[in-house]
């Protein structure tokens, strides 16, 4: 399979947008490559290098945005690979603990927009 089905300018834009968020971490991500099967490989830079919370940033912020780019099948970065068990735990925690209205959706800004109209009490329901 060719990587031609991935809109590289869209992917680059999403990474650029993510890096505006990552500024808050005093870090960033950079694209190392995209495999023929759509696997995106990244590298953390700046203060994110070496940070033990890279898996959290990957699962909660980066991966949902980049997986929303058509053709992207997997997103990985050095230093953010964790066990399936930890990944599932992290995803469950993220889905359960973030108020629904603040969750990143795959179709709006940063690959998603804030889901509107949810009551602020939602934060506790999934915990």
């Amino acid at each position: 399979m060719s990587t031609a089905h991935i809109d590289r300018s869209l992917l680059d834009r999403r990474i650029h947008e993510l890096n505006r968020v990552m500024d808050g971490h005093a870090g960033a991500i950079e694209l190392i490559g995209v495999s023929e099967s759509g696997e995106v490989e990244l590298r953390f830079t700046g203060m994110c290098t070496g940070c033990p919370y890279r898996p959290l940033t990957m699962a909660g912020t980066i991966r949902p945005v980049l997986l929303a780019v058509p053709g992207v099948t997997k997103v990985a970065a050095m230093g953010s690979r964790i066990s399936d068990e930890a990944e599932q735990r992290l995803v469950a925690l993220l889905e359960g603990s973030v108020p629904a209205r603040l969750r990143i959706q795959p179709s709006g800004p940063l690959g998603g927009g804030a889901e509107q109209g949810k009551h602020s009490d939602d934060w506790a329901r999934g915990i």
Partner: protein, 331 residues
Amino acid sequence: MIEDIFVFDNVIHVYDLSDENLRQDREDSRSARDHLLAIGAGGRLPAYNTQDFGKRWTIEELYEMVFVDAPTDMAMAQVVPIFDWYKDWFAPVHAQHAMAARYPERVMFCGGVDPLYRGMVDALDQLEYQVKELGASSIKFYNGHVTGSWRCDDEKVAYPLYEKCRQLGIKVLQYHKGIPFGNQKLEDLSPLDLQAPARDFPDLTFIIHHLALPYIDEAIWVANRFANVYLALSGTINLAVIAPRLVQEQMGRLLMEVGVDKLLWGSEAALAGGPAPYLKTFMEMEIPDDLRSGYGYPQITRSDKEKILGLNFAKMMDVDVAAKKSQLATA
């Protein structure tokens, strides 16, 4: 090869641990040599202990151990410039070069110099000689000495060597870190002094050997913060024979925090014994459930093992694996 996995051993040594190579002007030469032999004996499987390791190894003996008795495809014979107790260093320049010259299809030569051996001018001359005349494709450093350790981030002592390497086209620099081979100060072999070089020479690649044990925390934090720092598992898998759990913990953590692309297989043959049993151990290695669940360490996959055993180092040294497999198959 193991099945179709290409095995490129980052570090083997043609040692000279003979009495003849011990410096007579130092009282601690013999004890330092014997200490090193004891480290090796402690980590070797008994089957390899039927012979005397305190000798001058021949390239034929090492070839048999690495390439005949074990499924190794390529290896790098590395100089180790420890001159404190050895007249001709304990892994001499010409012995490593001879191995590469004898088996050019399988062995690459890694030179080595030390700025405190005969001074900077000599070290720079040696670099030029080893690269231009002997074909060194990488350079090894050992900065911890009984007297006169130097820091790898010393801009006057170390940086001229890196600049010379760069000028000569050498891109891969390697460092023995941790595990002292004598009574020098352990902290002199901390890997923390590689941070500044990694930052100041972004076009060079820096390899930390032995996971810098016991400074594994430091090694991990340096390697995961600098894109051009890699970790060699030189001899560290061997400990699985005694402490498999410890090695699983180390490997799981490395996969999670450093990343599989920055890990290199290294056997440390001959002193560590032949690579065969440790390659088998590595191929059978798994990260157990409780480490995956409790520490978040990822499972080690076949693809990981393929990268660690050879693909990562081949990429670093510009070896075309497919072409090399074909060449070796028809040799």
